[in-house]
């Protein structure tokens, strides 16, 4: 379950920010999550609830901003929405090589006190 490892990484980033910005509590974490990213939202939220106990992010809510999967077709030159790496171009049925978005896994912002 890599979501637990991802939570540790998130808490590490928050700790760095505490040192920089000096806040006492995190109330919300906004995460940009691409639809192709290998992350399950409910698992991540669940793991965060457990792993953030005794930290400044205890009880922080995670808000997800979904980023759609988009690939550029090198054959017909169009941008195509995809839900899966194996999806073919909906216009010309060719294999898609260039992923433009959908792999994001970023902490966008923190709401802190």
């Amino acid at each position: 379950m890599h979501e637990l490892s991802l939570c540790r990484q998130i808490l590490g980033i928050i700790e760095d920010r505490v040192a920089l910005e000096g806040f006492s509590m995190v109330s919300k974490i906004v995460i940009e999550l691409g639809q192709l990213a290998c992350v399950d939202k409910s698992t991540l939220s669940f793991c965060f609830e457990i792993s953030s106990e005794d930290t400044k992010a205890n009880r922080a809510k995670i808000e997800f901003l979904d980023i759609p999967g988009i690939a550029k077709c090198n054959y017909c030159d169009k941008n195509v929405r995809i839900n899966h790496y194996a999806d073919l171009c909906v216009h010309c049925d060719n294999i898609l090589t260039d992923i433009i978005s959908g792999e994001e896994m970023n902490i966008k912002s923190l709401e802190v006190q």
Binding site: M1, H2, S5, L6, Q9, I10, G12, I13, R17, E21, F23, M25, S27, I31, L36, C38, H84, Y85, A86, L88, I95, T97, M105, N106, I107, K108, S109, L110, E111, V112, Q113
Partner: protein, 236 residues
Amino acid sequence: MCDTCGCDDVLSPTETVNRIINVEQNILSKNNDYAKVNRDHFIKRKILTINLLSSPGSGKTTLLQNSISSLKSDINMSVIIGDQQTDNDMQRIAKLDVPALQINTGKGCHLDATQIARAVKELKVQDGSLLFIENIGNLVCPSLFDLGEAFKVVMLSVTEGSDKPLKYPDMFHAADIMILNKMDLLPYVDFDVEKCIEYAVRINPNVKIFQLSASKCRGLEPWLQWLREMSVKSFN
């Protein structure tokens, strides 16, 4: 005076003000930073690093044993092996007289870049050598964690399903090489090689594919030749 808008309302000492901090940082940025340090070290020291990934039981250790036996007279090699428990795989590799180090992750389901940095130091990986990292048997989590390797090699055996690339797309998308192993068992199993390759290429059009039987040492030569070529490139 209020700190937020400058109005005349006075906040009591117990009231707190929420503020937003823009972070804009990849969740994996810390691991990625450590991976970059590893990668720079490997390039500087001319170390070719291969991250070998698969489900449990696909044949990673057997492939390493037979690849090392074939190459060790020409190339200096070392091996880092990741498993949740036991050093059984390390014992198998150590019999070949190459430096090998076992990392037991306990509950962890993948290796990360800091573990590799420590292992490289402990193993004293030589300049101008080939370093294999046998990752934990898992087709999900290890795909996310960059270790600083030059190549990710994903292995799949014909005793598994032909649709594994579709089921675990992140891993097959991230891989540079796909090895189809246990080809000697093909007559006895219901595995569609053509379909499997079609799925893998749809997910990763640039993937290079080797078909072999590691335990029988059949079809190993193209893979060994690729390792030799990449070693020459990295060592010069």
